[in-house]
Structures are given as structure tokens and as C-alpha cells.
């Protein structure tokens, strides 16, 4: 492989990893607060469509990203209202979000762009100055837009906020022991509503990144299960943002390997790559379960204890 191919490889890996990473940041915050949102697929699609339509009309990527975040947060407000406030099952509402997002965006696309199938130009990359000279990584980074860097900044802030600030600790308490948090005057529902809306916004941003940067267009159902993968990434990360970032990058590298292998004689089906993360998470969950039942070293619990349980509990 020559350097140009390696650069293309890195660019492909990042293009695959970033939408997943953005979505997983919000899902991690949500899961830590005790809300399991399985409607990410719908939220991503809504964000992708809204940002695509707005950027196509206005020519502004910034406006597109803003609208994508707003659209994701808007749809996720249903989760905040129905599941957190009215205490309906998070699973049922999540399935509803996926259905609503998929149905709505597919209909709108069909009504507005199905005949013309427009594409967007790539967003302007951020100049990186002398770093450009680094082999492989330099040229790859020099093609990345502002959103790429902002995502990593957001990851860092989310990590700091979640683990080193008062509100962040309270949010994690809402997922660990909501009744204990409430006893010391914490507001469980407000924290969870905030976490859900933040998760909706980042899922919308994930969809936006996919549509505006990675694909340059919107197609119905373009997420292909990426929203569910984000749940996996958040779950494997177990609340540690840096792990979330690492896992998303590993996923991106695997996707890029799959694409690269299609150029060679080795056949590695897309389905194997799609399947792999889900197999891994099953194995990890089984291993954690085994470790806990064997009574060995107390394993870090795979999921916050209050995950997917409404507060206050009871009928």
C-alpha cells in the first residue's frame, strides 16, 4: 500500500467512526442517567434529513448542524415526556421513535428529493498548517471539517462534566440510585429529561455528520442500524467517554478494512463487519455476567442499576 491509499484508508475510517461517536456520546450520558433510548435510529434519521434539507437550501453547513441537533432533540422530547415524565416503558417509546423517524424522513424525502437526488459539496476543511507534513495522518486530517474537531472537544467536555462536576455526579447517581439522589434533594426527573434531550441532540448531530460529511446526501434509512450500534458502543464504554471514542474508532477502522478488502481478492462480506460489533457485545456481556456470578473480583457493573426503570418506581 502506498501513502495515498493509507490516507484514503484513514479518511474512510474517520468517516465511518464520527457519526457513531457523536451518537454514542449522548447515549452514554442518557444511559448513565438511567434512560435507555433505543430510538436513536429514528433520531439520527431526523437529524440527517433536517440538516440535509437546510444545508441544501441555505448552503450553510453550520446552520445544517444546528438544525440537525434541534431536530434530534425535538423528536427525543417525546421520550422525555412519555417515558421520563409519564413513566411509560422506555423500550416501547424508543421503538416508537425509530418508527416515527424512519417513516417521517422517508416520506419527506420521497415527496421532495426522490426525483432529483441532490448531493452536497464537501464542507470546507480546517487548515491544519504545518501538521500537514505528518505522513498519512497529515493529509487525512487536512480534509476534516470543523465538526470533526468539535466532536472531539465535545467528547472531552462530556467526559470532564460526567466525572468531575457536581451535576455530572448527580446525573450518574440518577442512574445508580435515583431514590438516594432524591433523598438528598437531587432532581432525578429533571436530570433525566436533560440527558434525554442532550442524547437526542447528539444523535441528531450524528445523523447530520453522516449526511453532510460522510455521505454528502440523504437517503431513506441511511443509518442501517448505526443507531443500535451506538447503544452497543455506549454500553461497552460503560460510562467512560474515552473508551467510547476508542471503540468508535475501532469500528471505523474495521469498516475501512472491509472496504479496502473489496479492492483485493479477499472476500469479507459487509455482513460480517455489520455483525461483528453485536457478537462482541454479546460475548462481553456474557463474560461480565460470568465474572459476577463466579463471585470473583467485583466486576464493574455492565449497566447502571436503575437503567430503563422509571422514577419513582411502582405502578
Amino acid at each position: 500500500m502506498n501513502e495515498a491509499m493509507l490516507t484514503a484508508f484513514v479518511v474512510a475510517a474517520l468517516a465511518a467512526a464520527m457519526p457513531l461517536l457523536l451518537t454514542a456520546i449522548g447515549e452514554t450520558v442518557g444511559e448513565q442517567s438511567g434512560v435507555l433510548n433505543i430510538g436513536l435510529e429514528g433520531l439520527m434519521l431526523v437529524g440527517a434529513y433536517a440538516s440535509f434539507a437546510v444545508t441544501l437550501a441555505s448552503g450553510s453547513f453550520t446552520l445544517g448542524f444546528l438544525c440537525g441537533a434541534v431536530a434530534g432533540a425535538a423528536l427525543s422530547s417525546l421520550m422525555a415526556l412519555l417515558a421520563v415524565r409519564l413513566r411509560a416503558s422506555q423500550i416501547v417509546v424508543g421503538i416508537g421513535l425509530t418508527l416515527a423517524g424512519t417513516g417521517l424522513t422517508s416520506m419527506l424525502y420521497d415527496a421532495s428529493y426522490a426525483d432529483t437526488r441532490p448531493h452536497l459539496p464537501p464542507p470546507t476543511p480546517v487548515p491544519i498548517g504545518p501538521l500537514d507534513a505528518i505522513p498519512v495522518l497529515g493529509p487525512a486530517l487536512s480534509t476534516q471539517p470543523t465538526a470533526f474537531y468539535l466532536t472531539w472537544v465535545m467528547l472531552g467536555f462530556a467526559s470532564l462534566w460526567l466525572h468531575h462536576t457536581g451535576p455530572g455526579l448527580r446525573l450518574r447517581a440518577a442512574g445508580q440510585r435515583p431514590e438516594a439522589l432524591a433523598a438528598v434533594g437531587g432532581r432525578v426527573l429533571r436530570l433525566r429529561v436533560g440527558a434525554v434531550l442532550f442524547g437526542g441532540a447528539t444523535a441528531g448531530l450524528g445523523g447530520t455528520y453522516l449526511a453532510l460529511v460522510s455521505a454528502g446526501t440523504f437517503t431513506p434509512g441511511m443509518t442501517h442500524g448505526l443507531g443500535f450500534l451506538a447503544i452497543v458502543v455506549a454500553m461497552l464504554g460503560r460510562g467512560r467517554m474515552l473508551a467510547v471514542g476508542g471503540i468508535a474508532l475501532v469500528y471505523g477502522i474495521f469498516v475501512a478494512i472491509g472496504t479496502a478488502l473489496q479492492l483485493t481478492t479477499i472476500e469479507l462480506s459487509n455482513d460480517v463487519i455489520t455483525m461483528a460489533p453485536f457478537v462482541v457485545v454479546l460475548i462481553v456481556l456474557a463474560a461480565i455476567g460470568l465474572k459476577r456470578t463466579r463471585g470473583g473480583q467485583e466486576a464493574r457493573p455492565a449497566l447502571p442499576p436503575a437503567l430503563a426503570t422509571p422514577y419513582p418506581p411502582g405502578d
Binding site: L99, S106, M107, P310
Partner: protein, 356 residues
């Protein structure tokens, strides 16, 4: 509340979300410049008149079986969300091996073997989340969902690999000869799988409402700790519930392949489970009650596909309509429960926690 008043109350709570969702979709149709009146008239015309009712009944077969699978597991407060992949993998296996099985075995034996095989695929897939839940207490929402994705990818791999028909350029299984498909009920174009589905609805209804197994499922669903105190072996019961649920959903794949489609393509996914889920809850997890509600969805799906084409809109309006049913159901039930200061008649699944 007297019995008739209560029945009326339940009926109102069941119909209201459907009416609201249909009205909501009508607003969407208006916004897209289509005539909602003509659309819904088309839906009824294509799904009920002429040959339509037979197509609607045929569409109900897999939907009823998947509903039964969901009902069994949701009644036990176990979330088997593996329905999507389970259906697809069972369908792929049946479509893939059917031509060979029919070549070696007589028609009746081959059909029976394929039905058992599909149920077996569903059963094995269900064992993954079931055993993780039973032994380690791992949240079955996640594990069944993950299993579903693995199964869906496996289905694709099989159809592209060993089961692919080499004589066609697109990846799909060999088309089953018409003579090997499930026979029609005499005088109709409704295959016998529909009859089997209805028979299983009655069987499951009796089992869930009149047998000790059904009672144990309900007790487990109400309170697993109480169930353990009542002498119910919770892990064994968890596995049993998942196995029945998975087998029924697997059966749906076989009946759909042998009765309706005859072959399987890659990346084909009717998404039955997600769309039928709100209706299963509206039926209050009652197998007999699910028949009219599955019927409503079958009418919308059968008639809606053609009606959407004629109205020039995407058939995904139906997906949106189903989502609206789900959201309105939650809101109506919440308001009704508050209004009558009584507890919700809706199965606890909707408003109760998922146990970790």
C-alpha cells in the same frame, strides 16, 4: 365500575389511539398535498373488496404468529426484542433448504420438517438472551436486540452464500416450485398457514388464560420475587417463555416463505415485529384480542401499499401511522388512568420498569 361500563371503557381506550393516529396521518397527507379521504377509501377498497380480503387474511398469518411470540414474552415482563432477526433467519433457512427438502421427502413430511426447522431456529436464537438472563441476570432488552442483528446478518450471509440461486444475478434463494407451496383453503387463495396461525392463537389463548403455565407466566410478569416465593423456578420459566416466544416467531418466517413468498432476497425486511408491537399492547397482551387489532394493521398494510402508490406518496406513511398509534396509546392510557383514578388496564409492560 360495573362490568359493561368497564368493557366500554376498555373499548374506548383501544379505539381512541387508532382514531387519533388515523386523523394524525390524514393531517400529514393533507400537508403532502394528497387527499386523505380518497386515501383511506382506497385502503378499505384494496384490502377488503374483490380479492383484497384474501390478501389481508394472508398478511395476517405471520403477523399473528409474531404477535403471539410477543404476547408470551411481554406477559412474563420479558422483553424479547429479537423478533426482527429471528423472523429473517428462520425465513432464510426455510427458503434456502426447502427445494432440497422437497426433493428428498414427500410433500407432507417435508412441510412438517420445514415448520419444525423454522421453529427450531427461533428457539435456538431465543436461547441466547434467555440463558444470559436466567444464569447471569443480563438485561434481555440488549441481548435480544443484539441477537436480532446477528441473526439478520447471518440471514444475509446465507442468502448470498450457500443458499444463493446461481442462475440469478441478484442474491436470492431458489424460487420454490408452486406445487410445493402451502395448499390453499379450497375455493380461496388463502393458504393453510393462515388456518394454522388462527389455530395457534386459540391454543395460546387457552394456554395463557386457562393453564397453570399461563398463570405462572403472569405471576412471573407481576413480580419475579413473588414468583420465586410461590415455588416457581424463575430461571427455568424465563428460558421456557423465551423458547416458546422464539419458536412462534420462527414459525412466522416459515409460513410466510412457504405460503406467500417462495424465496428470500438479501436486505429484505418487512419489519413486521416493530409495526405490530403497538397493536399487541392495544390488545392488552390478549391473544384473542390481538386478532381484530392485527386485522386492523393488516388492512392498513395491504390496502395502504396500493393506496399510497395511487396517492403518489411513500408507503412509509404506514410506519409513521404505527408510531402515532403507539404515542397516542401511551397518552390516552395515561390520561384515562388519571381520569378514572383507577389503575391502567393496559398490561403492565407499558408502564412498568424493565428489570435489570
Amino acid at each position: 365500575m360495573s362490568a359493561p361500563a368497564r368493557a366500554l371503557d376498555v373499548l374506548a381506550r383501544t379505539v381512541a389511539p387508532l382514531v387519533l393516529a388515523i386523523l394524525g396521518s390524514a393531517v400529514v397527507l393533507l400537508a403532502l398535498g394528497a387527499n386523505p379521504w380518497a386515501f383511506y377509501a382506497d385502503v378499505l377498497r384494496f384490502s377488503l373488496t374483490g380479492e383484497g380480503w384474501q390478501q389481508t387474511l394472508t398478511a395476517m398469518a405471520p403477523l399473528l404468529l409474531i404477535s403471539l411470540g410477543l404476547i408470551v414474552s411481554f406477559r412474563a415482563q420479558l422483553w424479547n426484542l429479537g423478533y426482527g432477526g429471528t423472523y429473517l433467519l428462520s425465513a432464510a433457512v426455510v427458503a434456502g433448504v426447502a427445494p432440497a427438502v422437497f426433493a428428498f421427502l414427500p410433500y407432507g413430511a417435508a412441510t412438517l420438517l420445514l415448520l419444525v426447522l423454522a421453529a427450531g431456529v427461533g428457539l435456538i436464537l431465543a436461547l441466547i438472551p434467555a440463558s444470559l438472563k436466567a444464569w447471569f441476570g443480563t438485561n434481555e432488552v440488549i441481548t435480544s436486540l443484539m441477537t436480532s442483528f446477528v441473526a439478520a446478518s447471518l440471514a444475509n450471509l446465507l442468502v448470498k452464500g450457500p443458499f444463493q440461486d446461481p442462475s440469478v444475478s441478484v442474491p436470492q434463494t431458489r424460487v420454490l416450485d408452486l406445487e410445493f407451496m402451502l395448499a390453499y383453503v379450497p375455493g380461496t387463495r388463502v393458504h393453510l398457514g393462515v388456518v394454522l396461525a388462527f389455530a395457534l392463537v386459540i391454543l395460546m389463548h387457552v394456554m395463557l388464560t386457562r393453564s397453570s403455565f399461563g398463570t405462572r407466566i403472569d405471576v412471573l410478569g407481576l413480580n419475579p420475587r413473588a414468583a420465586a416465593h410461590a415455588g416457581i423456578h424463575v430461571p427455568r420459566m424465563t428460558v421456557a417463555v423465551f423458547v416458546v416466544s422464539g419458536a412462534l416467531i420462527g414459525l412466522a418466517g416459515a409460513i410466510d416463505m412457504l405460503g406467500l413468498w417462495g424465496y428470500m432476497r438479501t436486505d429484505w425486511n418487512p419489519g413486521y415485529g416493530d409495526k405490530i408491537l403497538p397493536f399487541v399492547f392495544l390488545a392488552r397482551l390478549n391473544p384473542l384480542g390481538s386478532v381484530p387489532l392485527v386485522g386492523v394493521y393488516a388492512v392498513l398494510a395491504t390496502g395502504g401499499t396500493l393506496a399510497a402508490q395511487r396517492a403518489g406518496i411513500s408507503v412509509d406513511l404506514l410506519t409513521l401511522l404505527v408510531a402515532l398509534v403507539l404515542f397516542f396509546m401511551v397518552i390516552v392510557e395515561y390520561l384515562a388512568a388519571r381520569h378514572s383514578v383507577g389503575r391502567s388496564y393496559l398490561p403492565r409492560g407499558i408502564f412498568k420498569a424493565v428489570r435489570a
